[in-house]
Amino acid sequence: MPEGLWEQKSAFEFPILQRDWSALPTPQTLLAETLTSREGAHLFLYPFAGRHVHLGLASLLAWRVAQHAPRTFSMAVNDYGFELLCADAVDWPQLLPSLLAAPGSADDLLAEVLASLNASELAKRRFREIARVCGLIFQSHPGEARSSKQLQASSSLFWEVFKKYDPGNRLLQQAESELLQQELDINRLRSSLTRMSNQTLVVKLLKRPTPFAFPLLVARLREKLSNEQLADRIARMVAQLEKAAGTRSMAPAADAVLDTLVHGQDALADSASPRPRRERKKSRPLPPL
């Protein structure tokens, strides 16, 4: 794929790329894409149900997969779909049909959703807003003097202390109930799952990220769901750092990662031996949408 792909092609050609590299979603089909990269195993799913429901769906699916074996998932959402990223391989083509089966009762779904809540950090993120509104944390504006230094604590610290010593706290409950009204609205989740189970599932194995997948792939604001032991997660990170230290290279620079993303698997082949860093031409601005 030539350099500067995104700049050369116009927005009108993106659906053609999507169709050529994967498939175009239709009202009758539910498109799923899988990709393997240096980061791990990616699943992209496009229910077109809006970002709130997508966060709930992503959380639910990740939770269901994590029942087979302890997993850590990174999740990204937008209005078209969501991404689930795991360091270890997941047999998505095999698992998806059963994961997306028609939902049972609302009560069963609620039980699952509540269980998945504890494995994710959705409530912790919600709590940050709540802590700010009720004055537990202070966010001063530029130039404004910080209020009493005695009282600085982060929302994470409050979260931990509430969870540990006062788990029935109203503020924690508030975070949970807000989630259950929005991202984890049982009725909306149920109707989305029903609609999805009536669609034909189309699974595409990608060699490179598609126009639909790319925005999710590079999304910075991500959620996490994990039921792995903390020690296992740390062990994996330390092993990776040791490997990097052993091959005398730092974590790949943004250019190298972007290279891999745009050019796909081919760029990964030489990851062991250092390649001379190619000079990137200054990109032309994207055409107007």
């Binding site: 240096r38 980061e39 791990g40 850590t72 998932f73 990174s74 990223l85 795991c86 360091a87 537990l136 009493s148 005695q150 009282l151 600085q152 604590a153 982060s154 610290l157 409050f158 931990e160 202390v161 509430f162 540990k164 010593y165 006062d166 706290n169 991500r222 996490k224 032991q229 903390l230 020690a231 296992d232 997660r233 740390i234 062990a235 994996r236 990170m237 330390v238 990776q240 750092l241 040791e242 990097a244 230290a245 005398r248 290279s249 730092m250 974590a251």
Partner: protein
């Protein structure tokens, strides 16, 4: 408290064998000494006094963990590297009573407190606790027990104050923020021991060694190689 086995990390510094404990302390077997930094007892109480609804329980947690360490290692000496009490408003009757009762459980234990910035404001612990209060640097063996990170001409500094945490990243965009021990050439910084203490990110540099604490273990983080 922790019934599963925790795994410390053995190091050799200043020609002494030390163990970095996942319980956020340093054990010096040759001297039967425990080093602990930044207990910040009564921090929750002082927040409550200033109107923040922080729940109770951290003091009990802190004292229970100290008891666990004493039971596990049978130290003869416990050295606190500063910030034993968080503030003057921490000196509540409940807290002082809990401390007194804790001290009664370990009467033979020699306890030394190296004054930190919070101790100067909170005042020394009550006399009846029988805690020897000293100023930094306080020399013990080849070590200089301090609160603030600093260097010493002849001794290896053991300090606290900065509540170091390290940000680790891994595959699949995994990120963890873990308390850590920091070993520089001439000083060692301990993670904060106290429950309800925040942390400050530690700068990685090639001459620094980081030992992260998490999942019941202490992990040596491979040094940054440029």
């Amino acid at each position: 408290m922790t019934d599963h086995a925790t795994i410390p990390y053995a190091v050799q510094w200043a020609d002494e064998s030390l163990e970095l404990l996942p319980e956020h302390a340093v054990w010096w077997p040759a001297s039967h000494t425990l080093f602990i930094a930044d207990l910040h007892l009564g921090k929750a109480a002082s927040y409550r006094k200033l109107g923040q609804p922080v729940p109770a329980g951290s003091t009990q947690d802190n004292l229970q963990r100290l008891t666990w360490l004493v039971a596990r290692f049978a130290p003869r000496h416990m050295i606190f590297l500063g910030d034993f009490l968080h503030a003057a408003s921490s000196r509540t009757p409940t807290l002082l009573e809990a401390l007194r009762r804790w001290r009664e459980q370990h009467p033979a234990l020699r306890i030394t407190l190296v004054r930190g910035n919070h101790d100067s404001r909170a005042g020394d612990p009550p006399r009846e606790l029988d805690i020897e209060v000293v100023d930094e640097p306080w020399l013990v063996g080849p070590f200089a027990a301090c609160h603030h990170p600093q260097t010493h001409a002849t001794h290896l500094v053991l300090a606290g104050h900065s509540h170091p945490v390290v940000s680790l990243q891994g595959a699949a965009r995994d990120r963890l923020r873990l308390p850590c021990f920091v070993k520089d050439e001439r000083q060692v910084t301990l993670p904060a021991f106290g429950a309800f203490t925040g942390g400050h990110p530690v700068e990685m540099n090639p001459r620094r060694r980081i030992y992260a604490v998490g999942g019941g273990r202490v992990w040596a983080i491979p040094p940054l190689v440029v």
